[in-house]
């Protein structure tokens, strides 16, 4: 029972994990991206279409990354180059994503593909309790573990990562030190968006191997909230994403057991808990030292430098 629940937790948490990681990269460079929900949908559709047309799951994942990289570059162009309002641009991206995927996804509705299969890692998958849940999963889940580590390593152990963090904390100082603010911000937004797209692709290639209109169902927004819970750190994002995976898994379990509680009420739980977690983590953020990037949400114009 515990093993089944933990397994379902990891599977339900993975799309949110990818989306949260992508959002963290955006925000670390100082750009708020509220287009996560739309990007997940674009990734889900691009991933599904890519796989359906080519017959290869790998091509699907690459297609998801590329499509959301391009969609993310619209947000990057508007917020970085044109210094537009980040909140409105992100909302526009979500609306655009919902609309465009409904339009182009129409021909994909009802088609099926063979999704990602489980690959057991010898040895590790035999570990008691956690072995099955973490090491008898599909390749995308293993990739998400790798990505959590890579993003941490990139941000704290490489010069480029330092650049991303500094344009997010204090773009004027970063500019003075020779980091190109617009280049770092543009790439952080587009690459981050690409990872969000892989999260979307997880939905249509692994969770349920098909395309359903609006299949992200608010996961993108949960990811935006989780960035704050995670304190802009990738290992904590993993914790947050699995917490929500756990709530989703439990809710599905309750429904399967035939409880008398209405399914509609149970479906509210993830959203309700997200708000609760957001309140708690915001409260904590204000008491302790804030991990929030100082320059978050502010456009940078060299002429305004003080």
């Amino acid at each position: 029972m515990f093993e089944i629940l933990l397994d379902a937790t990891v599977r339900a948490g993975t799309p949110i994990l990818f989306a949260t990681l992508g959002a963290i990269i955006n925000e670390r460079a100082g750009i708020i991206n509220l287009g996560i929900e739309g990007l997940m949908l674009i990734g889900a559709l691009a991933g599904f279409s890519g796989t359906y047309l080519s017959g290869s799951l790998f091509v699907g994942v690459i297609a998801a990354f590329c499509a959301t990289f391009i969609a993310g570059s619209i947000h990057a162009l508007i917020t970085v180059q044109l210094r537009g309002n980040q909140i409105v641009s992100g909302l526009a991206l979500t609306m655009f994503g919902v609309g465009v995927t409904a339009l182009f996804g129409k021909s994909m509705v009802g088609l099926t593909i063979v999704g990602f299969k489980r690959v057991a890692i010898p040895g590790l998958s035999q570990l008691p309790f956690i072995g099955k849940a973490f090491f008898n999963q599909d390749l995308l889940i293993y990739f998400s573990f790798f990505l959590v580590f890579m993003i941490w390593f990139f941000l704290y152990r490489t010069r480029w990562g330092l650049g991303v963090r500094s344009v997010g904390e204090n773009p004027a100082a970063a500019d003075t030190c020779g980091f190109s603010v617009s280049k770092y911000r543009f790439l952080a937004v587009t690459v981050g968006s690409g990872f969000v797209g892989i999260g979307g692709a997880y939905l249509s290639l692994a969770s349920t191997p098909m395309w359903i209109e609006n299949m992200s169902a608010g996961r993108g927004w949960i990811a935006v909230a989780l960035v704050i819970f995670a304190g802009w750190s990738s290992p904590r994002a993993m914790l947050g994403a699995y917490l929500f995976g756990g709530i989703t898994a439990m809710q599905l379990r309750f429904q399967a057991m035939g409880t008398t509680i209405s399914a509609h009420i149970l479906q509210m739980l993830p959203y309700f808990f997200t708000i609760l977690v957001l309140v708690i983590s915001t409260h904590r953020l204000q008491k302790g030292a804030s991990q929030q990037p100082e320059g978050l949400g502010l456009p940078y114009d060299r002429e305004d430098r003080k």
Partner: protein
């Protein structure tokens, strides 16, 4: 030759006025390619949108029917914008407003027409206000991000209404469809010209006028404007910014909630699934396009009404999904944001070397 970005010394009024119109134009042009890609001729589609929404009395009445909730929701969102507060939850506020009004209509047993409608109005007002007020309280008390809270509460509101109409409020004579019983005649707004147009439209116009007077002619409106433009200055002037944030979000949600009242009392005459097909999200664009003006909200709501009625007919004719309208709205916002840049800056070709 080198391309440089230069800040304009003055941004002309003509440019500010024409930029939104130009962005809608460019968005129409780009959306044309999306239509082409799905096998529909853009010119025919646009012609169809205009004819269906404005070409007949019936079409016009349908456009006004859609304009009505958009005005309420747009006013609500733009009021919060005034104070740099983001109410992305108008969609949910419409749902809980509709729920409050329906509760009164179904279970209060009031027999007098005007008392019934007044009670429904205030129930919707309070429900919508309370719903947004939660986000307002969290923002004022602990600085919790109101964008995320209002948005997530949309999902909860829609699921809550679903719970009611699939469960305790389901019409026992409704053949198991997820809807409540029909309201009695006491709980209905007046309808005109044998169309679906109802007095909610005039209520919306009245609401726009009241809000305009509230912002421009009262001390509270003045405070909202001051806090919106400079929160620190407002604090030094002794204004209670926390209270104002709560109050503005409450009012913002309450106005969006009235849209729910107007929809159930004027149009649907019962609570059912999908009572708002995304009016609350369209309201964000309306508020942004209208640039804080209540009259602007009315005009832009009408334009969006045209688009929604047209979108419905595109769905009937070419089976285009209704959500296509969102893609179009997203494009309008993109180009609007881009045009803002060209109001403040200009691109200039400079000969030779570095400029700065």
């Amino acid at each position: 030759m080198k391309l440089v970005i230069e800040r304009r010394e003055i941004s002309s009024a003509l440019l500010r006025f024409s930029a939104p119109i130009a962005s809608i134009g460019v968005a129409l042009f780009v959306a044309g390619f999306l239509l082409l890609a799905s096998g529909v001729s853009p010119l025919e589609a646009y012609k169809e949108i205009i004819i269906e929404s404005l070409g007949s009395i019936y079409g016009l009445s349908e456009t006004l029917v859609k304009t009505t909730p958009l005005i309420f929701a747009g006013l609500g969102v733009s009021l919060a914008f005034r104070m740099q507060i983001w109410n992305i939850g108008a969609e949910g506020q419409i749902y809980v407003g509709a729920m409050g009004a329906s509760w009164v209509a179904l279970f209060s047993g009031i027999q007098t027409h005007w008392i019934m409608l007044t009670a429904m109005f205030f129930a919707a007002f309070l429900c919508g206000g309370t719903w947004a007020g939660v986000a307002g309280f969290l923002r004022a008390r602990w600085k919790v991000n109101e964008v995320i809270v209002t948005l997530l509460m949309n999902y909860i509101a829609i699921l809550w209404v679903d719970y009611l109409i699939y469960g305790p409020w389901k019409d026992p004579k409704g053949f198991n469809f997820p809807l409540t019983a029909q309201f009695s005649d006491t709980a209905r707004l007046a309808e005109y010209f044998n169309t679906r147009m109802h007095s909610g439209f005039f209520l919306a116009l009245f609401c726009a006028l009241v809000l305009y007077l509230f912002i421009e002619r009262t001390v509270w409106g003045y405070e909202i404007k001051v806090i919106g433009s400079n929160q620190r200055a407002a604090k030094y002037a002794g204004m209670n910014t926390g209270m104002a944030i709560f109050f503005v979000l409450f009012l913002s949600g309450a106005i969006a909630g009235i849209a729910g009242f107007s929809e159930v009392a004027g149009l649907q005459h019962r609570l059912q699934h999908g009572i708002s097909p995304g009016y609350g999200y369209t309201a964000i664009i309306i508020a942004w396009l209208a640039k804080r003006s209540a009259i602007g909200v009315v005009i832009v709501s009408f334009l969006m009404g045209v688009l929604l009625v047209g979108g419905d007919s595109l769905q009937l004719l070419w089976q285009l999904p209704v959500a296509f309208v969102y893609a179009f709205q997203g494009l309008i916002l993109f180009f609007l944001l881009a045009s803002d840049f060209f109001i403040i800056y200009r691109l200039k070709f400079v000969k030779g070397g570095a400029h700065v």
